[in-house]
Protein backbone atom coordinates (compact mmCIF):
# COMPACT_ATOMS: atom_id res chain seq x y z
CA UNK A 1 0.00 0.00 0.00
CA UNK A 2 2.76 2.46 1.03
CA UNK A 3 4.67 1.45 -2.10
CA UNK A 4 1.67 2.40 -4.26
CA UNK A 5 1.28 5.74 -2.49
CA UNK A 6 4.97 6.46 -2.87
CA UNK A 7 4.73 5.67 -6.57
CA UNK A 8 1.76 8.01 -6.98
CA UNK A 9 3.65 10.78 -5.13
CA UNK A 10 6.57 10.27 -7.50
CA UNK A 11 4.35 10.98 -10.54
CA UNK A 12 4.78 14.41 -12.19
CA UNK A 13 1.89 16.74 -11.24
CA UNK A 14 0.79 17.23 -14.87
CA UNK A 15 0.15 13.49 -15.18
CA UNK A 16 -2.06 13.58 -12.10
CA UNK A 17 -3.99 16.56 -13.53
CA UNK A 18 -4.41 14.83 -16.88
CA UNK A 19 -5.59 11.61 -15.23
CA UNK A 20 -8.15 13.56 -13.17
CA UNK A 21 -9.39 15.38 -16.28
CA UNK A 22 -9.68 12.11 -18.20
CA UNK A 23 -11.74 10.64 -15.36
CA UNK A 24 -14.15 13.59 -15.52
CA UNK A 25 -14.24 13.24 -19.32
CA UNK A 26 -15.19 9.59 -19.03
CA UNK A 27 -17.86 10.42 -16.48
CA UNK A 28 -19.35 13.12 -18.74
CA UNK A 29 -19.40 10.86 -21.79
CA UNK A 30 -21.21 8.23 -19.73
CA UNK A 31 -23.66 10.85 -18.39
CA UNK A 32 -24.31 12.15 -21.91
CA UNK A 33 -25.07 8.63 -23.16
CA UNK A 34 -27.30 7.96 -20.17
CA UNK A 35 -29.21 11.20 -20.79
CA UNK A 36 -30.02 9.97 -24.29
CA UNK A 37 -31.84 7.11 -22.58
CA UNK A 38 -35.25 6.37 -21.62
CA UNK A 39 -38.30 6.40 -21.52
CA UNK A 40 -36.91 3.90 -24.18
CA UNK A 41 -33.43 3.78 -25.73
CA UNK A 42 -33.10 4.40 -29.47
CA UNK A 43 -30.14 4.85 -31.78
CA UNK A 44 -29.37 8.54 -31.87
CA UNK A 45 -28.06 8.86 -35.43
CA UNK A 46 -31.41 9.24 -37.21
CA UNK A 47 -32.95 11.23 -34.37
CA UNK A 48 -30.43 14.04 -34.00
CA UNK A 49 -31.67 16.04 -37.04
CA UNK A 50 -35.29 15.34 -36.03
CA UNK A 51 -34.67 16.69 -32.52
CA UNK A 52 -33.01 19.75 -34.05
CA UNK A 53 -36.05 20.29 -36.31
CA UNK A 54 -38.48 19.84 -33.41
CA UNK A 55 -36.50 22.30 -31.26
CA UNK A 56 -36.40 24.80 -34.15
CA UNK A 57 -40.18 24.51 -34.60
CA UNK A 58 -40.71 24.93 -30.86
CA UNK A 59 -38.63 28.11 -30.91
CA UNK A 60 -40.77 29.40 -33.79
CA UNK A 61 -43.88 28.49 -31.82
CA UNK A 62 -42.70 30.39 -28.75
CA UNK A 63 -41.95 33.45 -30.90
CA UNK A 64 -45.37 33.24 -32.62
CA UNK A 65 -47.15 32.94 -29.26
CA UNK A 66 -45.27 35.95 -27.89
CA UNK A 67 -46.22 37.90 -31.02
CA UNK A 68 -49.90 36.94 -30.63
CA UNK A 69 -49.96 38.17 -27.04
CA UNK A 70 -48.24 41.44 -28.07
CA UNK A 71 -50.73 42.03 -30.90
CA UNK A 72 -53.70 41.28 -28.64
CA UNK A 73 -52.39 43.79 -26.09
CA UNK A 74 -51.97 46.35 -28.88
CA UNK A 75 -55.55 45.74 -30.05
CA UNK A 76 -56.91 46.18 -26.51
CA UNK A 77 -55.05 49.51 -26.32
CA UNK A 78 -56.33 50.71 -29.72
CA UNK A 79 -59.89 49.66 -28.89
CA UNK A 80 -59.66 51.65 -25.66
CA UNK A 81 -58.83 54.78 -27.68
CA UNK A 82 -61.79 54.33 -30.05
CA UNK A 83 -63.17 57.82 -30.84
CA UNK A 84 -66.84 56.80 -31.40
CA UNK A 85 -69.79 57.46 -29.06
CA UNK A 86 -68.36 57.10 -25.57
CA UNK A 87 -71.16 55.10 -23.96
CA UNK A 88 -71.39 52.64 -26.85
CA UNK A 89 -67.62 52.21 -27.05
CA UNK A 90 -67.45 51.63 -23.30
CA UNK A 91 -70.18 49.02 -23.56
CA UNK A 92 -68.47 47.15 -26.41
CA UNK A 93 -65.07 47.35 -24.73
CA UNK A 94 -66.51 45.98 -21.49
CA UNK A 95 -68.08 43.11 -23.48
CA UNK A 96 -64.76 42.47 -25.24
CA UNK A 97 -62.93 42.36 -21.91
CA UNK A 98 -65.52 39.98 -20.49
CA UNK A 99 -65.24 37.69 -23.54
CA UNK A 100 -61.45 37.68 -23.40
CA UNK A 101 -61.45 36.73 -19.72
CA UNK A 102 -64.18 34.12 -20.23
CA UNK A 103 -62.30 32.55 -23.14
CA UNK A 104 -58.96 32.36 -21.30
CA UNK A 105 -57.19 34.95 -23.46
CA UNK A 106 -56.06 36.79 -20.34
CA UNK A 107 -53.52 35.64 -17.75
CA UNK A 108 -55.09 34.99 -14.36
CA UNK A 109 -53.54 35.01 -10.87
CA UNK A 110 -55.20 33.74 -7.73
CA UNK A 111 -55.20 31.10 -4.99
CA UNK A 112 -54.74 27.59 -6.24
CA UNK A 113 -52.70 24.44 -6.62
CA UNK A 114 -49.77 23.40 -8.77
CA UNK A 115 -49.53 19.67 -9.42
CA UNK A 116 -46.47 17.93 -10.79
CA UNK A 117 -47.05 14.61 -12.52
CA UNK A 118 -44.07 12.42 -13.41
CA UNK A 119 -43.32 8.96 -14.77
CA UNK A 120 -42.47 6.18 -12.32
CA UNK A 121 -38.91 6.37 -11.00
CA UNK A 122 -37.75 3.31 -12.89
CA UNK A 123 -40.29 2.91 -15.69
CA UNK A 124 -40.47 -0.59 -17.08
CA UNK A 125 -41.20 -1.40 -20.70
CA UNK A 126 -44.97 -1.21 -20.11
CA UNK A 127 -46.80 2.04 -20.92
CA UNK A 128 -48.60 2.04 -17.55
CA UNK A 129 -45.58 3.37 -15.65
CA UNK A 130 -45.49 6.47 -17.88
CA UNK A 131 -47.75 9.51 -17.58
CA UNK A 132 -50.35 9.51 -20.37
CA UNK A 133 -52.53 12.22 -21.87
CA UNK A 134 -55.50 10.60 -20.18
CA UNK A 135 -53.82 10.96 -16.75
CA UNK A 136 -53.40 14.68 -17.38
CA UNK A 137 -56.98 15.03 -18.68
CA UNK A 138 -58.30 13.17 -15.63
CA UNK A 139 -56.39 15.45 -13.26
CA UNK A 140 -57.68 18.57 -15.05
CA UNK A 141 -61.26 17.20 -15.07
CA UNK A 142 -61.07 16.44 -11.36
CA UNK A 143 -59.87 19.99 -10.72
CA UNK A 144 -62.80 21.41 -12.74
CA UNK A 145 -65.22 19.23 -10.77
CA UNK A 146 -63.66 20.45 -7.50
CA UNK A 147 -64.40 24.05 -8.49
CA UNK A 148 -61.31 25.26 -10.39
CA UNK A 149 -62.06 28.27 -12.60
CA UNK A 150 -58.88 28.27 -14.72
CA UNK A 151 -56.29 25.62 -15.52
CA UNK A 152 -53.12 25.17 -17.52
CA UNK A 153 -50.84 22.29 -18.48
CA UNK A 154 -47.20 23.35 -18.59
CA UNK A 155 -47.48 26.67 -20.45
CA UNK A 156 -50.72 25.83 -22.28
CA UNK A 157 -53.99 27.30 -21.01
CA UNK A 158 -56.87 24.83 -21.00
CA UNK A 159 -59.61 26.39 -23.11
CA UNK A 160 -62.87 25.31 -24.67
CA UNK A 161 -60.96 23.73 -27.59
CA UNK A 162 -58.01 22.12 -25.78
CA UNK A 163 -57.27 18.50 -26.72
CA UNK A 164 -54.59 16.57 -24.79
CA UNK A 165 -53.17 13.72 -26.84
CA UNK A 166 -50.65 10.90 -26.75
CA UNK A 167 -48.32 10.79 -29.72
CA UNK A 168 -46.42 7.62 -28.90
CA UNK A 169 -44.61 8.53 -25.68
CA UNK A 170 -45.02 12.27 -26.25
CA UNK A 171 -47.96 14.35 -25.01
CA UNK A 172 -49.45 17.31 -26.86
CA UNK A 173 -51.87 19.97 -25.57
CA UNK A 174 -53.34 22.59 -27.91
CA UNK A 175 -51.09 20.78 -30.48
CA UNK A 176 -48.03 22.02 -28.56
CA UNK A 177 -45.44 19.49 -27.41
CA UNK A 178 -45.30 19.19 -23.62
CA UNK A 179 -41.93 18.42 -22.13
CA UNK A 180 -42.03 16.31 -18.96
CA UNK A 181 -42.42 16.73 -16.02
CA UNK A 182 -46.04 17.78 -16.44
CA UNK A 183 -47.24 20.69 -14.38
CA UNK A 184 -50.96 21.28 -13.98
CA UNK A 185 -51.94 24.62 -12.47
CA UNK A 186 -55.41 25.52 -11.26
CA UNK A 187 -56.99 28.57 -9.65
CA UNK A 188 -60.06 28.13 -7.51
CA UNK A 189 -61.63 28.51 -4.09
CA UNK A 190 -59.51 28.32 -0.93
CA UNK A 191 -60.78 24.80 -0.23
CA UNK A 192 -59.99 23.52 -3.75
CA UNK A 193 -57.52 20.97 -2.41
CA UNK A 194 -59.96 19.65 0.25
CA UNK A 195 -62.71 19.38 -2.32
CA UNK A 196 -60.40 17.56 -4.72
CA UNK A 197 -58.98 15.09 -2.23
CA UNK A 198 -62.37 14.18 -0.79
CA UNK A 199 -63.84 13.49 -4.24
CA UNK A 200 -64.48 9.77 -4.74
CA UNK A 201 -63.39 9.90 -8.38
CA UNK A 202 -60.07 11.61 -7.53
CA UNK A 203 -59.39 9.05 -4.79
CA UNK A 204 -60.14 6.31 -7.31
CA UNK A 205 -57.73 7.93 -9.83
CA UNK A 206 -54.94 7.94 -7.22
CA UNK A 207 -55.72 4.37 -6.11
CA UNK A 208 -56.06 2.85 -9.56
CA UNK A 209 -53.57 4.82 -11.58
CA UNK A 210 -50.98 6.69 -9.49
CA UNK A 211 -50.19 4.25 -6.67
CA UNK A 212 -50.09 0.87 -8.45
CA UNK A 213 -47.79 2.05 -11.26
CA UNK A 214 -45.48 4.26 -9.19
CA UNK A 215 -46.40 7.48 -11.00
CA UNK A 216 -45.28 10.47 -8.99
CA UNK A 217 -47.89 13.12 -8.14
CA UNK A 218 -46.81 16.02 -5.95
CA UNK A 219 -48.52 19.33 -5.29
CA UNK A 220 -48.14 22.73 -3.78
CA UNK A 221 -50.98 24.91 -2.50
CA UNK A 222 -50.25 28.59 -3.07
CA UNK A 223 -51.92 31.95 -2.45
CA UNK A 224 -50.89 33.15 -5.90
CA UNK A 225 -50.86 30.75 -8.83
CA UNK A 226 -50.51 32.27 -12.29
CA UNK A 227 -52.29 30.59 -15.18
CA UNK A 228 -51.04 31.85 -18.56
CA UNK A 229 -53.20 33.38 -21.27
CA UNK A 230 -54.15 31.21 -24.25
CA UNK A 231 -51.88 32.20 -27.12
CA UNK A 232 -53.46 30.26 -29.96
CA UNK A 233 -55.95 30.78 -32.71
CA UNK A 234 -59.60 31.65 -32.03
CA UNK A 235 -60.80 32.25 -35.58
CA UNK A 236 -63.66 30.06 -36.77
CA UNK A 237 -63.57 28.48 -40.20
CA UNK A 238 -66.91 26.72 -39.99
CA UNK A 239 -69.02 28.19 -37.18
CA UNK A 240 -70.67 31.60 -37.19
CA UNK A 241 -72.85 33.40 -34.65
CA UNK A 242 -76.41 32.09 -34.84
CA UNK A 243 -78.41 34.76 -36.73
CA UNK A 244 -81.63 33.61 -35.03
CA UNK A 245 -80.10 34.41 -31.63
CA UNK A 246 -80.23 37.85 -30.03
CA UNK A 247 -78.10 40.23 -32.11
CA UNK A 248 -74.79 41.35 -30.67
CA UNK A 249 -75.24 44.99 -29.64
Amino acid sequence: MTAVLARIRALPSWQVTLTGALFVLGFLIAAQLAAEGPRIRYTSQERAPLIETALGLQEQQDALQTRILELRAQIVELEGEEPGSEALVRQINAALEHARIAGGLVQLTGPGIIFRLEDADNPGPERDSLVTARDIRTLVQELWLAGAEAASINSERVTTGTAVLDIGNAILANSAYLAPPYEVRAIGPDDLYERLTTSASFIEFVRSRIEPYGLRLSFSELDAVTVPAYAGTIRSRYGRPDPSAEPVR
Binding site: L25, E46, Q61, I101, S175, S236
Partner: protein, 224 residues
Protein backbone atom coordinates in the same frame (compact mmCIF):
# COMPACT_ATOMS: atom_id res chain seq x y z
CA UNK B 1 9.61 20.74 -26.05
CA UNK B 2 8.19 18.09 -23.63
CA UNK B 3 6.64 20.80 -21.44
CA UNK B 4 4.97 22.29 -24.52
CA UNK B 5 3.48 18.90 -25.47
CA UNK B 6 2.12 18.49 -21.94
CA UNK B 7 0.48 21.88 -22.19
CA UNK B 8 -1.11 20.94 -25.50
CA UNK B 9 -2.41 17.66 -24.08
CA UNK B 10 -3.98 19.39 -21.07
CA UNK B 11 -5.42 22.16 -23.25
CA UNK B 12 -6.98 19.59 -25.61
CA UNK B 13 -8.53 17.59 -22.78
CA UNK B 14 -9.82 20.80 -21.15
CA UNK B 15 -11.39 21.91 -24.46
CA UNK B 16 -13.15 18.55 -24.99
CA UNK B 17 -14.26 18.67 -21.37
CA UNK B 18 -15.73 22.15 -21.86
CA UNK B 19 -17.63 21.13 -25.00
CA UNK B 20 -19.07 18.07 -23.25
CA UNK B 21 -20.13 20.02 -20.17
CA UNK B 22 -21.95 22.57 -22.35
CA UNK B 23 -23.54 19.81 -24.48
CA UNK B 24 -24.68 17.98 -21.37
CA UNK B 25 -26.19 21.08 -19.78
CA UNK B 26 -27.87 22.15 -23.03
CA UNK B 27 -29.34 18.75 -23.76
CA UNK B 28 -30.79 18.54 -20.26
CA UNK B 29 -32.16 22.07 -20.25
CA UNK B 30 -33.54 22.25 -23.78
CA UNK B 31 -35.37 18.97 -24.33
CA UNK B 32 -35.83 16.80 -21.32
CA UNK B 33 -38.41 14.79 -23.28
CA UNK B 34 -37.57 14.97 -26.98
CA UNK B 35 -34.38 12.95 -26.65
CA UNK B 36 -36.43 10.08 -25.27
CA UNK B 37 -38.65 9.77 -28.35
CA UNK B 38 -38.25 7.40 -31.27
CA UNK B 39 -37.75 8.73 -34.81
CA UNK B 40 -41.39 7.90 -35.62
CA UNK B 41 -42.68 9.76 -32.55
CA UNK B 42 -40.46 12.74 -33.33
CA UNK B 43 -41.85 12.83 -36.88
CA UNK B 44 -45.41 12.93 -35.50
CA UNK B 45 -44.50 15.64 -32.99
CA UNK B 46 -42.88 17.68 -35.79
CA UNK B 47 -45.99 17.30 -38.00
CA UNK B 48 -48.28 18.43 -35.16
CA UNK B 49 -46.14 21.36 -34.05
CA UNK B 50 -45.71 22.41 -37.68
CA UNK B 51 -49.49 22.40 -38.25
CA UNK B 52 -49.96 24.44 -35.11
CA UNK B 53 -47.31 26.93 -36.21
CA UNK B 54 -49.21 27.36 -39.50
CA UNK B 55 -52.39 28.21 -37.62
CA UNK B 56 -50.48 30.55 -35.28
CA UNK B 57 -49.04 32.34 -38.34
CA UNK B 58 -52.57 32.76 -39.71
CA UNK B 59 -53.66 34.15 -36.34
CA UNK B 60 -50.72 36.60 -36.33
CA UNK B 61 -51.63 37.76 -39.87
CA UNK B 62 -55.26 38.19 -38.80
CA UNK B 63 -54.32 40.19 -35.70
CA UNK B 64 -51.89 42.34 -37.72
CA UNK B 65 -54.74 43.15 -40.13
CA UNK B 66 -56.94 44.17 -37.18
CA UNK B 67 -54.16 46.37 -35.73
CA UNK B 68 -53.62 48.02 -39.14
CA UNK B 69 -57.32 48.63 -39.63
CA UNK B 70 -57.77 50.09 -36.12
CA UNK B 71 -54.67 52.28 -36.51
CA UNK B 72 -55.89 53.46 -39.92
CA UNK B 73 -59.33 54.41 -38.62
CA UNK B 74 -57.67 56.10 -35.65
CA UNK B 75 -55.34 58.15 -37.84
CA UNK B 76 -58.27 59.33 -39.97
CA UNK B 77 -60.27 60.18 -36.85
CA UNK B 78 -62.94 57.65 -37.91
CA UNK B 79 -64.77 55.16 -35.77
CA UNK B 80 -63.90 51.47 -36.02
CA UNK B 81 -67.07 50.30 -34.31
CA UNK B 82 -67.75 47.72 -37.01
CA UNK B 83 -64.32 46.19 -36.44
CA UNK B 84 -64.98 46.11 -32.68
CA UNK B 85 -68.39 44.51 -33.16
CA UNK B 86 -67.01 41.84 -35.46
CA UNK B 87 -64.17 41.13 -33.01
CA UNK B 88 -66.68 40.84 -30.20
CA UNK B 89 -68.93 38.48 -32.17
CA UNK B 90 -65.96 36.20 -33.00
CA UNK B 91 -64.69 36.21 -29.40
CA UNK B 92 -68.07 35.54 -27.83
CA UNK B 93 -68.78 32.71 -30.28
CA UNK B 94 -65.40 31.09 -29.60
CA UNK B 95 -65.65 31.45 -25.82
CA UNK B 96 -69.10 29.84 -25.83
CA UNK B 97 -70.96 32.97 -24.74
CA UNK B 98 -73.23 33.07 -27.82
CA UNK B 99 -74.99 30.37 -29.87
CA UNK B 100 -73.28 29.30 -33.10
CA UNK B 101 -74.30 27.48 -36.27
CA UNK B 102 -72.33 25.75 -38.98
CA UNK B 103 -71.62 22.42 -40.63
CA UNK B 104 -70.59 19.53 -38.44
CA UNK B 105 -71.72 16.22 -37.04
CA UNK B 106 -74.35 14.72 -34.78
CA UNK B 107 -73.18 11.77 -32.67
CA UNK B 108 -75.77 9.45 -31.18
CA UNK B 109 -74.57 7.49 -28.14
CA UNK B 110 -76.68 4.55 -26.96
CA UNK B 111 -75.82 1.88 -24.42
CA UNK B 112 -73.71 2.07 -21.31
CA UNK B 113 -70.71 4.38 -21.20
CA UNK B 114 -68.86 6.07 -18.33
CA UNK B 115 -68.02 9.77 -18.02
CA UNK B 116 -64.37 9.22 -18.92
CA UNK B 117 -65.43 7.47 -22.15
CA UNK B 118 -67.55 10.47 -23.16
CA UNK B 119 -64.62 12.75 -22.27
CA UNK B 120 -62.38 10.67 -24.58
CA UNK B 121 -64.92 11.27 -27.36
CA UNK B 122 -65.01 15.03 -26.66
CA UNK B 123 -61.19 15.15 -26.57
CA UNK B 124 -61.05 13.48 -29.99
CA UNK B 125 -63.60 15.97 -31.38
CA UNK B 126 -61.41 18.87 -30.20
CA UNK B 127 -58.38 17.15 -31.70
CA UNK B 128 -60.23 16.92 -35.03
CA UNK B 129 -60.79 20.69 -34.96
CA UNK B 130 -64.32 20.96 -33.56
CA UNK B 131 -65.00 24.67 -33.02
CA UNK B 132 -68.02 24.28 -30.74
CA UNK B 133 -69.47 21.22 -29.01
CA UNK B 134 -72.69 20.52 -27.12
CA UNK B 135 -73.84 17.47 -25.18
CA UNK B 136 -77.63 17.48 -25.49
CA UNK B 137 -78.54 21.13 -24.69
CA UNK B 138 -75.33 21.91 -22.78
CA UNK B 139 -72.52 23.82 -24.51
CA UNK B 140 -69.17 22.29 -23.60
CA UNK B 141 -66.67 24.98 -22.53
CA UNK B 142 -63.54 25.02 -20.36
CA UNK B 143 -64.69 23.61 -17.02
CA UNK B 144 -67.54 21.46 -18.40
CA UNK B 145 -67.02 17.80 -17.52
CA UNK B 146 -69.20 14.82 -18.37
CA UNK B 147 -68.92 12.63 -15.28
CA UNK B 148 -70.49 9.65 -13.59
CA UNK B 149 -70.75 5.91 -13.98
CA UNK B 150 -72.58 4.20 -16.86
CA UNK B 151 -76.28 4.89 -16.54
CA UNK B 152 -75.77 7.94 -14.31
CA UNK B 153 -74.02 10.56 -16.43
CA UNK B 154 -74.25 14.31 -15.83
CA UNK B 155 -72.85 17.45 -17.35
CA UNK B 156 -73.13 20.90 -15.74
CA UNK B 157 -75.59 19.45 -13.16
CA UNK B 158 -77.83 18.15 -15.94
CA UNK B 159 -78.50 14.41 -16.01
CA UNK B 160 -78.04 12.79 -19.42
CA UNK B 161 -80.68 10.37 -20.72
CA UNK B 162 -79.74 6.77 -21.61
CA UNK B 163 -79.40 7.60 -25.27
CA UNK B 164 -77.95 11.07 -25.86
CA UNK B 165 -76.64 13.29 -28.62
CA UNK B 166 -73.35 15.15 -28.99
CA UNK B 167 -73.20 17.86 -31.66
CA UNK B 168 -70.06 19.52 -32.98
CA UNK B 169 -69.32 22.25 -35.53
CA UNK B 170 -66.32 21.81 -37.80
CA UNK B 171 -65.37 20.04 -41.02
CA UNK B 172 -67.93 17.23 -41.11
CA UNK B 173 -65.56 15.15 -43.23
CA UNK B 174 -62.60 15.48 -40.85
CA UNK B 175 -64.76 15.04 -37.73
CA UNK B 176 -66.42 11.90 -39.13
CA UNK B 177 -63.15 10.47 -40.45
CA UNK B 178 -61.28 11.02 -37.18
CA UNK B 179 -63.97 9.48 -35.01
CA UNK B 180 -64.75 6.47 -37.18
CA UNK B 181 -61.28 5.47 -38.42
CA UNK B 182 -60.13 1.91 -37.73
CA UNK B 183 -58.63 1.78 -34.25
CA UNK B 184 -60.00 5.25 -33.53
CA UNK B 185 -61.83 6.45 -30.44
CA UNK B 186 -65.20 4.87 -31.34
CA UNK B 187 -63.57 1.50 -31.99
CA UNK B 188 -61.68 1.76 -28.66
CA UNK B 189 -64.81 2.70 -26.71
CA UNK B 190 -66.73 -0.14 -28.39
CA UNK B 191 -64.07 -2.54 -27.12
CA UNK B 192 -64.27 -1.10 -23.58
CA UNK B 193 -68.04 -0.79 -23.12
CA UNK B 194 -70.06 -3.82 -24.11
CA UNK B 195 -73.26 -3.07 -26.02
CA UNK B 196 -72.28 0.55 -26.73
CA UNK B 197 -73.34 1.99 -30.08
CA UNK B 198 -72.04 5.29 -31.38
CA UNK B 199 -73.23 6.57 -34.75
CA UNK B 200 -71.93 9.67 -36.50
CA UNK B 201 -74.04 11.67 -38.97
CA UNK B 202 -72.46 14.50 -41.00
CA UNK B 203 -74.79 17.54 -41.18
CA UNK B 204 -74.81 20.77 -43.19
CA UNK B 205 -76.22 22.77 -40.30
CA UNK B 206 -75.60 22.15 -36.62
CA UNK B 207 -76.85 24.53 -33.92
CA UNK B 208 -74.94 24.85 -30.65
CA UNK B 209 -76.37 26.89 -27.75
CA UNK B 210 -74.51 29.40 -25.58
CA UNK B 211 -73.13 28.18 -22.27
CA UNK B 212 -75.03 28.85 -19.08
CA UNK B 213 -71.86 28.44 -17.04
CA UNK B 214 -70.51 31.54 -15.34
CA UNK B 215 -67.10 32.05 -16.97
CA UNK B 216 -66.15 35.16 -14.99
CA UNK B 217 -63.46 34.24 -12.44
CA UNK B 218 -64.41 34.78 -8.83
CA UNK B 219 -61.05 33.90 -7.29
CA UNK B 220 -58.43 34.83 -9.89
CA UNK B 221 -57.48 38.36 -10.92
CA UNK B 222 -56.97 38.98 -14.63
CA UNK B 223 -53.81 40.76 -15.81
CA UNK B 224 -55.26 42.99 -18.51
Amino acid sequence: MIRSRRRWAITLVAAILGVLVVAQLRSQAANPGLSNLSAQELTLVIANVNTRNESLRAEVADLERTVASLTDAHDRGESALDELRSDLAALEAWAGLTPVVGPGVSIRVTGEIGGEGVEDLLNELRNAGAEAVAVEAVRVVAGSVVYGLPGGLSVENTALPDGFEIRAIGSSQILTGTLTRAGGVIAQLGATYEGLTISVTPLDVVSIPATERNLVPGHGTPSL
